[in-house]
């Protein structure tokens, strides 16, 4: 059998090095002992899961830990998120979620929003793979829901 050649260049947009790095070595895995907010995101169709524990000091996020199981995109996205929201207020965290969601839906973000998303900008390549957008959004929308719930309590 002649061995076929594979051109995965299209896929490189999806699996950027930084994403694979977060997937292989996810950040903030050490569970924080006490939390003020527990965030869970589950995709029942595919079984991807993320769990985050968030410690607040006042209105701002002082510590985050995350655990999960799933595809590279869902886990890398959650790992990046756990880095980015540290030190942010809940409102800022929610804005990050809204910006990230807009980016996934193909909307242009202003420069400030892009800066705030930091490394997570690498996930913008996911939008070319519509079926995987929900993987990228899993942790972020779970965070958005949790902030809303926390504020209403």
């Amino acid at each position: 059998m002649s061995s076929p050649t594979f051109d995965f260049s299209e896929v490189d947009d999806l699996y950027q090095e930084i994403i694979l790095d977060h997937y292989r070595s996810p950040r903030n895995q050490k569970e924080i002992p006490e939390s003020d907010m527990d965030v869970t995101g589950i995709n029942p169709f595919c079984g991807d899961e993320v769990h985050m524990r968030i410690k607040l000091s006042g209105e701002s996020i002082s510590a985050v830990s995350f655990s999960g199981n799933g595809c590279s995109i869902s886990q890398a996205s959650a790992s990046m998120l756990s880095d980015i929201i540290k030190g942010k207020s809940l409102d800022e965290a929610n804005n990050l979620y809204v910006d990230f969601r807009d980016m996934m839906h193909g909307n242009d973000l202003n420069e400030d929003s892009m800066d705030n998303l930091g490394q997570a900008e690498a996930l913008s390549g996911v939008k070319k793979f519509p079926i995987r957008i929900k993987c990228a959004l899993l942790a972020w929308s779970a965070l958005g829901d949790a902030v809303k719930k926390h504020k209403s309590e």
């Binding site: 896929v11 079984g47 991807d48």
Partner: protein
């Protein structure tokens, strides 16, 4: 031997390309592709004799009624049932099992009774029993699996007792490919007075099935996995049980006489077919059966066994891949679920899609089983009559390339 090149010409979709590559369709356990003859049977119905059945004396209605009932007879013959009235037409396997749970089950399973099932069931042969058990105060028991993904029957005599009212199990697993000894288990269950329901969603499309020989009480399958359109499925019930079962849905067509405050039921099987049925798709299922019978189910099985054997050999060479299910080809169908510690199934699925290769990834509607396998999800390739060794080669080469890509 199947003439696969010839067969492939009957399936228009197989000439499609995906990202410029020829489609390699390996998601047959989810749903099969459809041959021209099936597609044409739908066009013929809608173009030449579309009308409601059982209701008119006009020519179209008579033609449609004849073709509809003729298709039912084909199903009867195909699964070795004795009478057409044993076959109830439903949407799919899921609806068939719910029908049994909420009619026969509701009236025959009570507090303290047990429903025995297995750890390899599709959600559609588990959740309806969970619900019934909750409604009626019964409990669920499970037959465990061994390392090879076969049923562990060493303690079967402890599991099937006089408390067991129903054994509900799959003929063939949609994840492991395991073909279960349903005939032997049916005999054991009957000895203890339990009834038996077999989920045939994965067996009927791929091998000769004879419900009379199996002696099961209920048997369910879906048309869409066996070349037929979506939206048509079949429930077989042993005649003597069907006679005593209460209707499932109420309304038109299922009645004999109706007064202001009461009604009597139509004859079997129409008593269980309320409302206008899926006429077109049952006719399509008839055409699908004609197609499969023209090939011969023994040939279909032989082709898939050979292809599965070839694929398992190729997978063996991949090293970094774990393959689930029995090693003995005579005990498994054409379904191969596999797992890599380094590449998540969804990532695998996305990569293979870029090569035009369609596989299924996820928990395959069998979450308890996926948990037992100690994985979150698996990737699954499943074969049918039109698949070739060349396609298996493409699959294994693309898996190799994906493993390398993620290891870079």
């Amino acid at each position: 031997m199947l003439d696969v090149n010839h067969i492939r010409k009957d399936f228009p979709i197989l000439s499609r390309t995906i990202y410029g590559k020829p489609l390699v369709y390996l998601d047959n356990a989810a749903t099969s592709q459809k041959p021209t003859s099936v597609i044409q049977s739908l066009v013929d119905y809608y173009e030449s004799y579309n009308s409601n059945i059982h209701r008119g004396v006009h020519t179209l209605s008579m033609e449609a009624t004849d073709r509809h009932e003729d298709a039912r007879s084909k199903c009867t013959r195909f699964i070795g049932a004795k009478e057409d009235k044993s076959l109830i037409m439903v949407r799919n396997t899921t609806e068939a099992i719910n029908l049994v749970a909420q009619t026969w089950g509701k009236h025959n399973i009570s507090a303290g009774d047990e429903i025995l099932t297995t750890h390899m069931e599709h959600h559609s042969n588990l959740v309806p029993w969970q619900k019934l058990a909750e409604q009626n105060g019964a409990s669920l028991q499970f037959i465990e699996l061994d390392e090879d993904g076969m049923l562990n029957l060493s303690n079967i005599d402890d599991l099937i007792t006089e408390r067991t009212k129903l054994l509900a199990l799959t003929h063939m697993s949609n994840v492991l490919g395991t073909i279960n000894p349903v005939k032997e288990l049916t005999a054991v269950a009957h000895k203890m007075g339990a009834k038996v329901l077999i989920d045939g969603a994965q067996s009927v499309p791929h091998m000769k099935v004879d419900v009379t020989d199996l002696d099961c009480d209920f048997f369910a399958f879906s048309g869409h996995k066996m070349l037929a359109p979506t939206g048509i499925g079949v429930l077989y019930v042993k005649p003597e049980i069907l006679e005593s079962m209460e209707p499932f849905l109420f309304g038109g067509d299922m009645v004999s006489q109706v007064w202001d405050d009461t009604a009597t039921w139509n004859d079997l099987p129409w008593k269980f077919e309320a409302g206008t049925p899926n006429i077109a798709d049952l006719i399509g299922l008839g055409a699908a059966i004609d197609y499969l019978e023209s090939l011969g189910m023994d040939q279909v099985r032989e082709h898939e066994m050979a292809l599965t054997g070839y694929a398992l050999e190729q997978f063996d060479r991949l090293n970094d891949i774990k393959v689930f299910g029995p090693k003995d080809l005579s005990k498994r169908g054409g379904v191969i679920s596999f797992h890599s510690d380094d590449v998540h199934p969804h990532d695998m699925g996305t990569m293979l899609d870029r090569e035009g290769i369609a596989i299924r990834t996820g928990h395959h509607c069998a979450m308890p089983l996926t948990r037992k396998l100690s994985v979150v999800a698996t990737a699954r390739a499943s074969f049918y009559i039109y698949n070739t060794e060349e396609e298996v080669d493409k699959l294994t080469a693309a898996i190799r390339a994906t493993l390398d890509y993620f290891a870079k």
